[in-house]
Symmetry: C2
Subunit: 311 residues, 2 copies
Amino acid sequence: MLDESPAPKFDRVALIGIGLINSSLAHAMRRHGMAGHIVVGDSNALHCQRALELGIADAVFTDNALAVRDADLIVLGVPVAAIAAVAAEIGPHLTAGAIVTDVCSTKASVIRDLMPHLPAGVHFVPGHPIAGTEFSGPDAGFAEVFEERFCLLTPLVGTPDAVIARVAAMWTRCGMTVEVMDAEHHDRVLAITSHLPHLIAYTIVGTATDLGTELEEEVIRYSASGFRDFTRIAASDPVMWRDVFLNNREAVLDVLSRFNEDFARIQTAVREGDGEALFELFKRTGAIRRGIVGLRQHTAEEQKVRQGETN
Amino acid sequence: MLDESPAPKFDRVALIGIGLINSSLAHAMRRHGMAGHIVVGDSNALHCQRALELGIADAVFTDNALAVRDADLIVLGVPVAAIAAVAAEIGPHLTAGAIVTDVCSTKASVIRDLMPHLPAGVHFVPGHPIAGTEFSGPDAGFAEVFEERFCLLTPLVGTPDAVIARVAAMWTRCGMTVEVMDAEHHDRVLAITSHLPHLIAYTIVGTATDLGTELEEEVIRYSASGFRDFTRIAASDPVMWRDVFLNNREAVLDVLSRFNEDFARIQTAVREGDGEALFELFKRTGAIRRGIVGLRQHTAEEQKVRQGETN
């Protein structure tokens, strides 16, 4: 964990891609006075317009090359698979001394796709604020989304500490706890905590959708019995998630094979009516939950209302 | 859906098994004046004592046979596999005209296990209030847990409408929407909305637990990225869930095989880098979520705070 620093100040921040995370960051930067000017680059003209209307951008460009001009901080908030193209677009227009960071869910692929386009004298600090909701787009952003969550940075060897510290301080000021690890480790951890859960959730919601109209209505009506928790994450942005699986394939396939082994074993227990095996599994999984509650990584509602149904 | 009736009044209600649901029901019955006396039967003496201390029981018995004496309503809130034994215990002591209902998560097995012990003149109305939290025991109960949730009744042929209506009215007064279906259909619907999600959640949390101490700590720390939603339901009562899988095996195995087919297909898409197949699945699952939000079956927090992280 890095030291908490005072809020850093950037003269001109370019937010490339104004989705949930970058629009939330814009709100937080405004609130904490971290940016002299906020410039938005987004190929979607409607998103640019909304950014102006929401007051989270001082200038907007559908051409990312124009957006990054004279920026001392550039935050890439685009789907993982768009990084190479965006990097090629902005690379020639980056100012020496500028810091580039990103908010993508995979790190090794972003480093691979971005670094070839980075001019000398520009630093890249790969980042992943683990925050969000199932909503997308500039209207989905709110400053509080980062509070009490973790942000992972996976800096490259040779990046000056002062540069990493400025990016870390920005996220700390947003309310996040910043931790540093290498990109491969990040991708392995996120494969189990995020990518596998999303793949399973998307699948089971798809399975339910295929049951036919009548049963689908009942699945919706009685979703508080457990299914509901899967539908929230299966409502996330499909482009973003497609790109995650295309760009963290090895790590995802590795945890998938472990999950499959365990799942096959538990299915055998159901088929054979092996109550002892079922009980043993069901008993030991409570400890992880208690760890999450202890770290306050469960939701605000669960802390207050106890209304998350399970049976 | 049955008509909303005024709150029914029972002279002497026997709650057998004072866990989360029956203790919540006791709170709700007190609040709405639905019971002259509330008697608790629970083989766990500590639970009996807590029920008295919490003020949700006028009398407690560790012997269920004593608890049901002179009761005009008996609500069984015990694990599914305990139904046969409890029915054998209480059967000889039930009063003619009494109504027995239950709150179990499977219905066909409960009917199968209970009916042989039911004396003539006593009615059984199988029920399943779809509500709860991951917490267990008499201290976990609160009257509001039922509000805006669904309760399924699976009455047997020949049960007088007036009897079914009294049980329905009780749950309606608790804030639930009551629907009627047959037991086999209930078990099929719950296999997909509840039992399969729980089995998957237990498995993935188990898989993460097996990754070793260091990685397990990181899984906890970064759980807001999706994993967290699985841990809540994987923290549910292990005995209750073991019994569900032992007693709804056929329906669970059926949805399991459908899920496995879909999951194998999506794994192939990841392995082959088939972005189109991934996008198609991820795109269509949002509709079910919108249905759930439309029916207000998502959580209170999601309505207010938008703090459920996903990426």
